[in-house]
């Protein structure tokens, strides 16, 4: 299953609800385009909701890192919400768990941007 992305706004935060796989050829480019689009429009607070992302590969990890650094370079922030076990596993192995702000509940994640 490819990646689907739904966008919503809440308290000044743009939330991307991602569903599917973030892998080479299946979701990486979609994620990259979505993030670049938001950052180019001046969006500062981005929350990636990953509760329905059941798979990420090294290419997908690279896109998450690129999203993080692209945002940071533009004075914006990208944070992560609701990691599935498999995604958490991969982020921990690669030490990227220490790079991102990661939350288990949406209210805390939204509050963290204030």
């Amino acid at each position: 299953m490819a990646l689907s992305i739904a966008t919503r706004q809440l308290d000044g935060v743009t939330i991307l609800d991602l569903s599917g796989r973030i892998t080479l050829g299946e979701g990486s480019v979609q994620l990259r385009d979505a993030i670049r689009d938001l950052i180019s429009k001046g969006v500062k607070n981005v929350l990636l909701s990953l509760g329905d992302v059941n798979y990420i590969d090294s290419s997908g990890l690279g896109e998450l890192v690129s999203a993080f650094t692209t945002a940071k370079n533009q004075g914006a922030e990208v944070k992560l919400l609701n990691l599935t076990k498999k995604v958490k596993d991969v982020l921990q192995v690669t030490k990227l768990y220490t790079v991102f702000d990661i939350f288990d509940d949406e209210a805390s994640a939204i509050a963290s941007f204030k």
Partner: protein, 128 residues
């Protein structure tokens, strides 16, 4: 990339048939996927005239998966460490690290031309 999906699905089926649980199966299948992507993209350079061969074996103690390309080869010792602070925010360079993390043994062999990866995951001893 369709062939990568086929190999990944085959790895999932193979690991399940070998009795691996969901977590182990995911890790092995992911490593196989990463290795196959490397073979197609970095090894063969997406050249449709070059092939990637994959084999699966269960010897009763471990599963042994080999993935070979027909590219120019690589020196695994020269790959940067993706966990190093200066590399942590790089967008690439995590594939072989993940493969090594998820398997018990990973061996590289230069084929002239090509690279063959042998991935070994030990099977848990069957309950007596």
């Amino acid at each position: 990339m369709d062939s990568v999906a086929e190999v990944e699905a085959a790895a999932e089926n193979f690991t399940h048939a070998a009795g691996m649980d969901e977590d182990e199966s995911f890790r092995v299948a992911m490593a196989v996927r990463e290795a196959t992507v490397n073979a197609v993209l970095h090894g063969n350079g997406y050249d449709p005239n070059k092939q990637v061969s994959v084999s699966f074996e269960n010897n009763g103690k471990a599963i042994v998966i080999t993935i070979a390309d027909q590219g120019e080869g690589l020196d695994p010792d020269k790959l940067p460490d993706p966990l190093a602070p200066e590399n942590l925010l790089r967008g690439t360079g995590r594939g072989i690290f993940l493969i090594r993390s998820f398997l018990d043994e990973v061996h590289f062999r230069q084929l002239h031309p090509g690279t063959e990866l042998t991935l070994i995951k030990n099977l848990k001893a069957a309950a007596s």
